[in-house]
């Protein structure tokens, strides 16, 4: 067991936080993915989690060099959030978590919901699967993050993410050392589930900061069971169990997510709660073609060989006749 894992076990045992399942440490040791449960019904929208995320992750925020390299072609836009670091009502490279507001009437009751939004840490993340450069990655413990020393800021992860979560900052990263005017455009940023804190055996900042214990972290199987229990108890609804093939973020809400999706502010940096099919499902099906292909090639090869041998035989017969 690595030192960090052992420390995680010890420190989790010591924290005794209600928001950390006791089995979390064991799950990490076994290499099981961690998931979080967000009980939307409990959130009071105080924003402590947003502030905690900023404080804990400040050292990872971009520090862009200016002026930015001139971009070719001209239409390539720079994404500069460095002068607007205090924007906290959407996702930005300097704000990886924000609170979404949903005033909904459901079954005759009015709800004023506040919902913490960030990367959902998909179980089979298209951002990491399709990053052509290996910069977006998924760790053993389920954390999906972007390596800021490798990312070129091409924003593909954002395009393929069903919620378009990662946000770009121009003027930082590896592209500056390559061909800054012609390829790349900075680095993409998003919630990394405080991977460094987890490595040190600490709990993500937004979880510990919450006065209402909105979030619970633990092994996915248990978090899923908890989500179902909670949904049953409260007549609630679950988001994240099947969306995009399953995410390691399970939201439970007293109101159906279609209703929430209708009333929330959506757009750049503001993800929805729409239904999401598994983005990688067609690839899973195409795997069959890839498995079948060599067998088809072998069959065609054998057929070719048999024909060639038969032709040789015929030729032999002809010679014999002559």
């Amino acid at each position: 067991m690595s030192i960090s894992r052992r420390r995680f076990l010890q420190s989790l045992a010591l924290t005794g936080l209600g928001s950390v399942l006791p089995s979390t440490a064991g799950a990490v040791a076994r290499g099981e993915e961690l998931a979080t449960l967000l009980d939307i019904g409990k959130c009071i929208g105080c924003g402590e989690c947003v502030a905690a995320c900023r404080e804990a992750n400040q050292h990872k925020y971009p520090n862009p060099q200016k002026p930015f390299p001139k971009m070719y072609p001209d239409r390539v836009k720079v994404a500069d959030w460095s002068e607007r670091q205090d924007v906290d009502d959407r996702l930005t490279p300097y704000n990886w978590l924000y609170i979404q507001y949903a005033d909904v009437t459901w079954q005759g009751r009015e709800y004023e919901l506040t919902i913490p939004r960030r990367c959902l840490h998909c179980t089979n993340p298209p951002c990491a699967n399709l990053c052509p450069w290996g910069a977006a990655l998924k760790q053993d413990n389920g954390i999906v993050r972007i390596n800021d020393t490798i990312c070129l800021g091409g924003s593909k992860c954002k395009s393929v993410c069903p919620w378009h979560i990662p946000e770009r900052q121009t003027g930082v990263g590896l592209y500056l050392q390559l061909a800054p005017s012609f390829a790349g455009n900075g680095v993409m940023y998003k919630c990394d589930r405080c991977y460094d804190r987890i490595n040190k055996g600490e709990v993500p900042a937004c979880i510990t900061a919450c006065p209402e214990n909105v979030q619970t972290i633990g092994p996915r199987s248990e978090i899923l069971a908890m989500a179902h229990e909670l949904a049953e108890k409260t007549n609630g609804f679950i988001y994240g169990e099947t969306e995009n093939g399953g995410t390691n973020t399970l939201y439970v809400s007293p109101v159906p997510f279609e209703e929430i999706d209708k009333v929330i502010d959506k757009g750049p940096g503001r993800p929805g709660f729409q239904p999401v099919d598994n983005a990688m499902a067609p690839e899973d099906k195409l795997l069959r073609a890839l498995i079948f292909a060599p067998a088809a090639g072998v069959a065609a090869g054998i057929l070719h060989t048999v024909r060639a041998l038969q032709q040789d035989d015929h030729k032999g017969d002809d010679h014999a006749k002559k």
């Binding site: 052509p132 593909k156 093939g245 195409l286 890839l290 065609a300 090869g301």
Partner: protein
């Protein structure tokens, strides 16, 4: 290809088409076709669709795998007595093996429930792209020098 009869020529053309398709859809995995206007050309908007190109890449890779296994079997059983692989041919074969292996690894990694370490994944990505670039250069040099992959056994 050893014989210059029609089916063999057709197979060769198909092979070139599949390889071109693979290179194209492979490069389409990088965010360049939109940036450099290709996707703006009427009828070419699909070149910026990552998912579509990714799926075509899978399909073409399946065709290529079928082609390679076919050629390996036929070479081993029929062609080998009359044709021999050149040194350039062996080098290309080595590069192709690397491309196929890294490609298969990437496909495996993309399966739900499959997990490679981030460093392994990064190396697989870089090797796949790097080997393709080297193979492209080697093939270009071979074409210029009229070097063949197979030559008749003397």
């Amino acid at each position: 290809m050893p014989r210059s009869d029609r089916p063999a020529r057709m197979v060769r053309h198909m092979y070139h088409l599949v390889v071109f398709g693979l290179a194209f859809t492979g490069f389409a995995q990088m965010p360049i076709f939109k940036r450099y206007y290709l996707a703006d050309v009427p009828g070419f908007a699909w070149t910026a669709d990552y998912y579509l190109n990714h799926r075509i890449h899978y399909l073409l890779a399946a065709l290529l795998l079928a082609f390679f296994t076919y050629v390996i079997i036929v070479y081993a059983t029929v062609w080998r007595s009359r044709w021999q692989i050149t040194r350039c041919g062996l080098f290309s074969l080595g590069l192709w093996s690397g491309i196929v292996v890294t490609g298969i690894m990437r496909v495996m990694k993309n399966q739900p429930g499959m997990h490679f370490s981030p460093t392994t994944t990064m190396w697989v990505d870089w090797l796949h792209l790097g080997l393709v670039l080297v193979l492209g250069m080697v093939s270009g040099i071979m074409a210029l020098g009229r070097r063949k992959i197979l030559i008749p056994r003397s």
